[in-house]
Amino acid sequence: MSDIPKLNDLEEDLLKELFNLGVGKAAASLSKMVTQEILLSVPKVEFAKSSAMIELLDSNESIISISQSIHGPFDAKSILLFPEHGGMEVVRQMLGSQLSDEAIADLHEEALSEIGNVVLNACIGAISKSMNTIFDVEIPKFNQASPENLLQASNLLDGDTILLININMKLKDSDIEGYLAFVFSSESLKKLQGSLTQLINSLS
């Protein structure tokens, strides 16, 4: 575990603020899309091994992921993850409960891709803005896989380091736990840490 970098308090606060800003914007967009209040918050940001992601989701069912790759000053892959029932619940809450289970099942891929796109864009946008840079961002990819196959399906290695962002989603009748993961190559990770330090220095 020694190769997993640890965020110091300042770095964690900064990232939390950054992502809260991002998801806050995403929440506003989502609320506007479905004309109901949706609240998103980021209670926790940490570095972890990619395998930790699976433990956190601790799911017997499949996991839904929406990912967008980022290229620019550093390369990364941003992934939004929901346990299957959580993802379905998001769709049900956002589309209205009068829809049948069959309709939800038909629509969930398209709907979650779009929701994921909004959340990921907002977070990536927040990072871009704070670092004053522009990334090339790919369009979202939807994936649904069992926990064992999640890493493979997301093109990840067991030992990859990820920046794991806990996202809490509050919809009218339910609280849904999701995760946002930024996956970096070791080189990109260094660049990110460098950018963070630079940012902190510029602030202080």
Binding site: M33, Q68, L95, L99, A103, D106, L107, N117, I139
Partner: protein, 509 residues
């Protein structure tokens, strides 16, 4: 490398909308598809802000997405789920002048940034027409919804029917046209002692004595039709699982389900009722017999006293004895009537059929009742409209019926009037009409006239005498002799009772 013209051709031939904006969100180009679906001429709009061309995009997600793409390079998928018709685009085939929101094509939009060179970025908006697939999905959703509604209403009906079957007090057995049992409710389980599982697929014939002994199971249904059970309530003997038999009322109805025919049998144990009936009959018979024995000797003694066997009975005492004698006679009639009706209804009465000349029989009846009629100052008049008629009857019972009709007629006649007895032959039946010109039968009483112990006015029982059993007995006796009895009556004008009997098979006397 492709030429610009070639690109332009390519873009124009794509079957979706392409809009390219410059970094100031102003229109650079759109393809033929957009022109067809908006009916806006490209040349009129180049270098206009997109929100000027499509004003309802202001503050929309499209505008946000364009901004994100241009500023931060973020691509946006705007599916049809959350934004159905963001652009004012219409089907080129039926362009509506009103341009209603509902007429717009259903859209799915992708917005992204394209980097032309180091300094220049454009925004690419791609619009797909998803009207057809949305309609298909909607249709599918509707079908699913309808199917679910049908399913849930069927389920409700089934649950309700099941509940009714389960909680019915009477046994309910449903079986198919071969007699095979399809459903056997808890009351049936309790009544027969079999469980529903035991009986599924077994035949109804095992449960009912009357159906047993059929060679083929199919015959049981035919037998049911023969027995006239279908659509009626019939008394049968049922067999319990331990082999014991008990009386039941069974009502079978036919149910048609599509091409299949089912039958439902509602079965009620009538052991208790039968027991009560028997007790009642036994009681009446016993009481009547026990009463008759002492009455016979009382009548004998009273008769002798009235006949003057003892001289010197004071006139006042003799009058009282006469009253006692009359009432004793009446009591004997009543008891005989009760015994008769019990015998007749239980089928214990024996009939001795012989062929008689009708006129002779009727003349005899008139003779028997003439003195009774004299009491009421009424005379009988025989009118023979058909001659030489013969009937097969039990003479004694026939006279009993005629006595009843003739005495009733006399009793309810106006004094000095006559009672007409008309013999006739119509519709292959012998008719005897007994017609009086008395007070007639009140309308409200007509439907009860054949019931036991009924008279129009309870007070007349005292004035006119009688048990109220006469007509009930007459009807039972007539039917036992294959005849019918009926009446017509008008209040204040009189009544006619008509006795119809079959003509004797051997007409020659």
């Amino acid at each position: 490398m492709l030429t610009t013209e070639c690109y332009s051709n390519l873009v124009n031939n794509i079957n979706s909308g392409i809009i390219i904006l410059n970094s100031e969100k102003k229109l650079l180009h759109w393809n033929q598809w957009i022109q067809d679906h908006s009916q806006f001429e490209l040349s009129n709009y180049t270098n206009h802000l997109l929100t000027e061309i499509f004003p309802d995009l202001k503050n929309s997600r499209i505008e946000d997405a364009i901004e994100s793409a241009l500023e931060l390079g973020l691509p946006s998928l705007i599916s049809n789920i959350f934004s159905r018709t963001p652009f004012a685009l219409y089907n080129p085939g039926n362009f509506n002048v009103d341009k209603l929101n509902d007429d717009r094509i259903q859209q799915a939009v992708n917005i992204s940034r394209i980097k032309v060179d180091e300094d220049r970025v454009f925004c690419l908006i791609q619009i797909n027409d998803v009207t057809a697939s949305v309609a298909r999905e909607k249709n599918l959703e509707l079908q699913v919804k309808e199917r679910k509604e049908v399913e849930s209403s069927l389920l409700k009906i089934e649950t309700r029917q099941r509940a009714i079957m389960q909680t019915m007090i009477d046994a309910l057995i449903i079986f198919d046209s071969n007699g095979f049992i399809d459903s056997f409710n808890p009351a049936a389980e309790k009544l027969f002692g079999y469980s529903e599982n035991d009986m599924m697929g077994d035949n109804i014939a095992f449960l009912i004595e009357e159906f047993s002994g059929v060679k083929e199971l199919r015959e049981s249904i035919e037998l049911m039709f023969e027995l006239g059970i279908i659509g009626k309530t019939k008394e049968c003997v049922a067999i319990k699982c331990n082999g014991s038999q008990f009386p039941v009322d069974i009502s079978i109805s036919e149910i048609e389900l599509g091409n299949e025919k089912f039958f439902s049998a509602v079965i009620r144990d009538v052991s208790d009722r039968k027991q009560m009936d028997k007790l009642k009959k036994d009681f009446i018979t016993t009481v009547s017999h026990e009463l008759r024995t002492p009455l016979t000797s009382i009548r004998g003694s009273l008769g002798l006293l009235c006949g003057g066997i003892i001289a010197d009975i004071p006139k006042k005492a003799l009058d009282l004895i006469q009253v006692a004698n009359n009432n004793c006679e009446r009591l004997i009639y009543l008891i005989n009537d009760i015994l008769d009706i019990e015998k007749a209804t239980s089928g214990q009465m024996a009939f001795e059929f012989k062929t008689f000349n009708l006129k002779n029989l009727v003349e005899q009846s008139i003779g028997n009742n003439a003195s009774y009629a004299t009491q009421y100052n009424v005379s009988y008049k025989l009118i023979e409209e058909a001659k030489d008629l013969a009937v097969d009857v039990d003479e004694h019972r026939f006279q009993q019926i005629m006595s009843n009709l003739l005495s009733n007629a006399a009793k309810f006649s106006i004094p000095e009037s006559s009672v007409d007895i008309i013999i006739n032959f119509q519709n292959e039946l012998v008719e005897i009409d007994v017609k009086d010109y008395g007070q007639g039968i009140p309308d409200k009483f007509k439907e009860n006239i054949w019931n036991k112990f009924t008279q129009a006015d309870t007070s007349t029982t005292r004035e006119k005498g009688g048990t109220g059993l006469g007509l009930a007995i007459s009807k039972t006796l007539t039917e036992a002799m294959h005849g019918t009895i009926s009446f017509t009556s008008k209040e204040g004008e009189g009544s006619t009772f008509q006795l119809r009997l079959p003509l004797a098979k051997n007409k020659t006397m």
